[in-house]
């Protein structure tokens, strides 16, 4: 289907706008309006995306430069840390013994018994708090393993036992010490109740 343009349409249109064009004021208003509208149109569809892209690229460049510097600093500190780690590699078992990753309560019990044997005192009661024996997820937080024990012996042996405890590689903290005389025998034996806790870090 062919669309035929009326040949008189242009002349009719020209005749209609001719009086308007003659007025200078109208031309000024028209040009002003056309300028603002075209600026708005191009601002919306061309200038805005271009400016935003440019600004975001400039910002990305500066941020990536900053990150690059930070990464370089971190790589240097990792190398330094690796050297330091090599120096203390031999001491790692000591750290593991002082602060194990799991409660290792049998070792706590064995340690307490060994010190009792060394100090020639007798353990009457030993209680260790309930702990999970499965491997715990890494938290990076210190956990406590509480224990309580009643020992009996002479004053010197008990003092010796406490010194052993305080000098134990498994870091332990004593909450309370309670001395009482052992009335069950006629000897000068003392009974000591110790409440304390040791640590582990999963």
């Amino acid at each position: 289907m062919k669309y035929k343009i009326n040949p008189h349409i242009f002349s009719h249109t020209y005749k209609r706008i001719k009086p308007l064009i003659r007025s200078k004021k109208t031309i000024s208003f028209f040009s002003l309006t056309a300028t603002f509208l075209s600026l708005s149109f191009f601002g919306l569809f061309a200038i805005r995306p271009a400016l935003i892209t440019a600004v975001s690229l400039v910002k990305s460049v500066s941020e990536l430069k900053e990150i690059n510097n930070t990464y370089e600093a971190k790589i240097n500190s990792i190398i330094k840390a690796q050297n330091e780690y090599e120096k203390i590699r031999g001491a790692l078992p000591l750290i593991e013994k002082a602060l194990p990753v799991n409660p290792s309560f049998p070792k706590v019990a064995i340690g307490l018994e060994d010190f009792a044997k060394k100090s020639t005192i007798e353990i009457e009661q030993l209680h260790i708090d309930n702990v999970s024996i499965s491997n715990l997820p890494h938290t990076g937080k210190l956990q406590r393993l509480g224990y309580a024990l009643i020992v009996s012996g002479d004053y010197e042996s008990i003092s010796n036992y406490i010194l052993h405890l305080l000098n134990w590689i498994r870091i332990t903290s004593i909450d309370s010490l309670n001395y009482s005389s052992d009335n069950s025998t006629d000897s000068a034996n003392l009974r000591l109740t110790i409440k304390g806790y040791t640590f582990y870090e999963p």
Binding site: A34, K74, A91, H164, N167, I169
Partner: protein
């Protein structure tokens, strides 16, 4: 709508678009393009160990 109203409308449109462009640029400037993972990887690392503690541990009994 006469010619004066049309001009005022075009001026308002222009001002709106200009403000929009300025706000868009400002928004782009204040928003970081770095992802959280990258920021997490750039946290500082202290590369020092307390050797005194290790010496202290060596003195303790097992």
């Amino acid at each position: 709508m006469n010619r004066k109203e049309l001009t005022i409308l075009s001026i308002i449109t222009f001002i709106t678009v200009t403000v929009w462009i300025i706000l868009g640029i400002y928004h782009t400037k204040i928003n970081s393009s770095i992802e959280g993972i990258q920021l997490k990887n750039t946290t500082p690392l202290t590369a020092s160990f307390d050797n005194d503690i290790i010496k202290e541990l060596e003195k303790r009994e097992e």
